[in-house]
Symmetry: C2
Subunit: 222 residues, 2 copies
């Protein structure tokens, strides 16, 4: 079975777990492992071995029975599946709190997400050097996105203006948008839009503390 041209729709959770496997494989590579079993991968991510094998099986058979998966090779394959074996050109719109942090976030670079452009509407920021990148005027958004062959745009502007920005981005021909503004944005059907809601996990902790989701009385047995 080839990696390309997937027939089945792959679930979001599988994709997310692939990211996890990728990270573990990077660590295993540094620890000089040649092979790794689904059991070991599962242990490190608190999953079941069957889950790991099933996830991988959607994309092909990468392992050797009796031995496990070749660490380097599997890492490459997952990189290829997730598109981490290439460089993506990314633009960040909004150099406030969040936008600023994202521009300096090394992990993105490491994964091949290269931030090439940064936009703001604040005259004091435009033209200034922000962590190695000159801040562009947001009025040139559409044009600059096109000229620089940007693949993905990250939105880090206030919720109130996010939709206007998105409309421009779409006009600029962008097909993938990551939105940090706490608002539901409208995009045409051919555009991929993902929302990053920084409060969600805090809210989950809040909920957990109140309702104590943990099963009690299992201490000592594990």
């Amino acid at each position: 079975m080839a990696t390309e041209n997937l027939k089945k729709k792959i679930s979001e959770s599988t994709i997310h777990r692939l990211s996890l496997y990728y990270r573990i494989l990077s660590i295993l590579e540094k620890e000089n492992y040649d092979t790794v079993s689904s059991k070991e991968l599962a242990k490190r991510e608190k999953l079941t071995p069957a889950q790991v094998r099933k996830d991988l099986s959607f994309f092909g058979s990468f392992g050797t029975r009796g031995l496990g998966y070749p660490v380097g090779e599997l890492k490459k394959r997952i990189a290829r599946i997730l598109g981490l074996d290439r460089v993506w050109s990314v633009a960040v719109v909004g150099v406030g709190n969040i936008g600023s942090a994202l521009v300096g976030y090394k992990e993105f670079q490491r994964q091949g997400f290269h931030i090439k452009l940064v936009f703001d509407n604040d005259q004091r920021k435009i033209g200034s050097n922000h962590k190695g990148i000159i801040v562009s005027d947001i009025r040139n958004l559409e044009q600059e996105l096109r000229e620089n062959g940007i693949d993905i745009v990250i939105i880090a502007v206030p919720a109130t203006v996010a939709q206007y920005i998105v409309d421009d981005i779409v006009k600029g021909g962008i097909k993938a948008i990551l939105n940090f503004a706490p608002v539901n944005l409208k995009v045409p059907p051919e555009v991929y839009l993902r929302n990053e809601n920084m409060s969600v996990e805090l809210e989950y902790l809040s909920f957990a503390l109140i309702n104590d989701q943990k099963k009690r009385g299992t201490k000592g047995i594990g």
Copy 2:
């Protein structure tokens, strides 16, 4: 059925959707809606009405048949369920890129997550005023967490040191941790740990662009 003392385990997705409903209800409140139907809520979040009703039904019956849900009342109920009707004392460890952004992130304040303490190990930062909060020495972590009655700790330190920090935090009696470091942390079973992986959504977009998950040929029909 009372809101407190849930029998059934509530799924993570239901909790996450409650956050979404909460946000929509805040907007509807500003738009002076008195009531809202599951249909309208669903439309705004791209869900099905049945999903909305089922989610809410886990916690009680808040609506009126023939009319819908009372906006203000439902918002309060969800706030209560998620613990957004109180103030949580939060500490942020690590005032780098991410930590710094989180300290200034207004949305947390708005939801009742008040950042009371900020820690770092950099002598140049310790004692300085960071967005209104004096940066504490990380060597006093355990003690200060206790003395200030911190409920939730956000970890924004490099992956290499995150586990040491967590161990201290746990010693400080903290029961809820939100981790931004790209590493799998170990905590005792009674501690809630959630991971925020900023790359996950970018990776999903990358995957989507390559594999084009969108069903084609549906243009014009919707």
